[in-house]
Symmetry: D3
Subunit: 69 residues, 6 copies
């Protein structure tokens, strides 16, 4: 499936922290950057997420803000 | 100001495309990755966004999805 | 690609309304329901969206609210 | 109250899974489709959500993405 | 209709700026605070939004970030 | 850091409820209004959030809906 989301960053799962209904996923992307994602625990299990797995961090453009110093 | 958003990626504005109420901002981040952001035109002007400006692309963790091949 | 988003509804594009940076997409899903989506104009063009095309309306679970009468 | 959100889908609660601060709500909508929602536990309790209750799954248009095969 | 969104702030429309597909709505709430909303132009028209109209600015709790100085 | 988010409301933390991965933060803003935020537990701890602390509730304009009676 191809998706309209403009931000699709390839990386590798670094850590999965499961909660009761949500799980926190930390993804390492090239350039030494980390992305943190909160998805449902059911999704994390269905996708078989665990440290080392190759994944994409996906973000809709309307969810990206801009900051300046 | 420090913000709770877990994803704060340093980069440089590559392109600003203004619309009537929203503007599209393309940000280059290290590792050859681009982030695309939609913010209000008023915000883009207030922050003085233009090509070459150093900025941060900011995303709340709950807005990040995970995909696998 | 498989995605963590819990809501993936199959349907057919009914109408595409392009703006300057965003486009509005109306999708008909089974059961006589319509879903309305705002994505970037660039994404709508890249995916070749036009009336009649089979698509999925995709929503992250954390973006779904509940209402009662 | 009438709301600006363009997607208001009538359905019936199928399952409520409470966590510490959030609850997962599964809603069956006509056409054999399910919608999954994450809302605060406090909201789920305030609305009296439980299996069988008639509800609406509500989504802002800017939160809907489009995918294609 | 009652909605799960935890943030429902009563106010008055101050300004409506229509674009091609989205409109920007500025709402004055008590305490001298303004809220800015981007909704589809179709929703703004359907709700009859114009300066002076009493409205609610509604935000899902998962869309609220926290900042500190 | 200055941020593109159009809604930055000054207030004071009233209550912090930690979950496994997310925490619920209630913020009192002037005019007797409360804002409820869900952020990651890690962010709540990193920002040192506790009752009485001065904070900002921050919301991107595209996350604000409008309701009418």
């Amino acid at each position: 499936m191809k998706i309209s989301a403009r931000n699709v960053l390839k990386g590798k799962v670094k850590q999965v922290t499961p909660g009761a209904v949500n799980s926190e996923i930390i993804v390492e992307i090239p350039g030494g950057v980390e992305m943190v994602s909160i998805i449902t625990k059911a999704s994390a299990e269905k996708l078989g997420l665990k440290a080392g797995k190759e994944v994409y961090a996906i973000v809709k453009a309307s969810s990206v803000m801009i900051g300046i110093d």
